[in-house]
Amino acid sequence: MTGRATRTFVPFALGFGTLVLFTLALEALIRAGLVNRFIVPLPSQIAGAFGRVIAEEDIPHRFLVTARESLWAALLLALFGIGFGVLLYRVRLLREATETWVAALASAPTVLMYPLFLVIFGRSETTIIMMGFVAGVPAVILKTIEGLAGTRRVLIDVGRSFKLSEVQLFWKILLPAALPTIFVGLRLGMIFALINIVGVEFLINFGGLGQLINDLAERYDLPGTYAAICFVILVSVVFFFLTDRIERWLRPVA
């Protein structure tokens, strides 16, 4: 095995091996009666519940519902987040006046407004989509401004030397140069949106994957609840991993 392969394999084996060992130890402790199986079900039971939950709880449909809500939130984020970001970049005074407000909004616990959104939009997908949008939009605005403001002066000068109009300069120079940073903002925004979408689905017991966890927990189906939580974590991890890869792929363009 080469040195590089060893450097990659050893940490992976250690991390994954620890996870497997922990699971086996938990199985043994529960079987020995040292951990209450009515609080923590056997890992083997959880693994067995995966198939049942996928088949009986219509996971593909629930997954599509959450994906649809996320897609709508992403579209709103791209439209309004990038739009406001461009506006604030172009109107300097407005940007200086409001940038700190947008940053404060990014750190504010906006998800707590979900009862308010319930009153305004009702117990519907719109509430869930809007909660996702509100959580993600500050990150998209801030990163759009950062990307556009960080365009290298020499690129803008090249555009001006070709006598590009302001619109041409934006589409041919500023936007392509800012795209990797804007994507970072969209990725961050989507992460915040997805957290809120699944969270609000769980809290208001409506929609896709979040509602499934609430349903199973209320039925006291412990292996099913744990399996559904593992499934949501898996979906989140795959989403973050894929967007992370795309972000890394875009980065050298900058």
Partner: protein, 262 residues
């Protein structure tokens, strides 16, 4: 007579244009809100007039029961931040101090960190009951990840010279942590605490809105259940102001601004 050519600085405008724009935006938003509230376009009370929200805010702040609930939530968040902070810091220092451990376990933290933590609430209820224990646990798992990742990143940024100085003085593990690592990691750790506080507040309050009979989260969902919208707006204003204030306070106490300026 010839001009002396003295340089005169242009007089600064009495009010900065940025301040004027800010005031204009605030006034516009408030007037727009009031117009919508009085127009009857939306259901009554969904957008209450500003005076009604102001009255609800005053009534809330004058209520002794509110402070009891605020105390419960503040206590839960403080314990969550303490437990999550200490464990997060310890894990971060461990991961940041060993390349092998970091490469083995940090990807798990990195990808688990942004998952929606509220979905763990049913498990926390089974483990810690329906009382404050499950809310504290939600706060702990919320703030653990940003703190651990910030501490690990901070640990890797420590100047190697400082570590060599500590070792040359034969400092033990505890002395290295308290005299070298933690002071050198101050900025990322304080930032981690700020992030951790934000998510701990969210985790705790969301858990209170889901299943509780005390705390500010309970008051918010109770206002929703009784359709007392002015009170809900008042509670949200208070929560937002306290969260942003606490965040700014930690930043100031941690001296992050001074570190950045230095």
């Amino acid at each position: 007579m010839a001009e002396t050519g003295r340089l005169i600085a242009p007089a600064a405008p009495p009010i900065a244009p940025v301040t004027l724009v800010r005031v204009a935006i605030i006034v516009f938003v408030l007037l727009f809100w009031e117009a919508i509230a009085r127009s009857g376009l939306l259901f009554r009370d969904v957008v209450p007039p500003l005076t009604v929200i102001g009255q609800a805010l005053i009534a809330l702040l004058a209520e002794t029961d509110y402070y009891r609930h605020l105390g419960v939530t503040a206590g839960e968040i403080a314990i969550a931040l303490g437990v999550g902070g200490v464990t997060g810091l310890a894990v971060g220092v461990l991961l940041g101090g060993s390349r092998l451990l970091a490469r083995a376990f940090e990807p798990y933290l990195y990808y688990l960190g942004p998952t929606p933590k509220i979905i763990f609430f049913p498990i926390m209820i089974m483990w810690f009951g329906v009382g404050p224990g499950s809310k504290i646990a939600m706060g702990v798992i919320s703030c653990f990840f940003p703190l651990a990742l910030s501490a690990a990143a901070g640990m890797r940024q420590i100047d190697q010279v400082l570590i060599k100085v500590g070792r040359s003085f034969r400092a033990g593990t505890w002395a290295m942590v308290t005299k070298i690592y933690l002071p050198a990691m101050r900025a990322p750790v304080v930032n981690g605490v700020r992030l951790g506080l934000g998510v701990a507040i969210i985790g705790t309050l969301l858990a209170e809105t889901k299943l509780s009979n005390r705390g500010v989260g309970f008051l918010i969902i109770n206002a929703y259940s009784t359709f007392n919208m002015p009170r809900m707006y008042a509670l949200l204003i208070v929560v937002f102001v306290l969260s942003i204030g606490a965040n700014a306070l930690i930043g100031r106490l941690g001296g992050v601004d001074q570190i950045k300026r230095a």
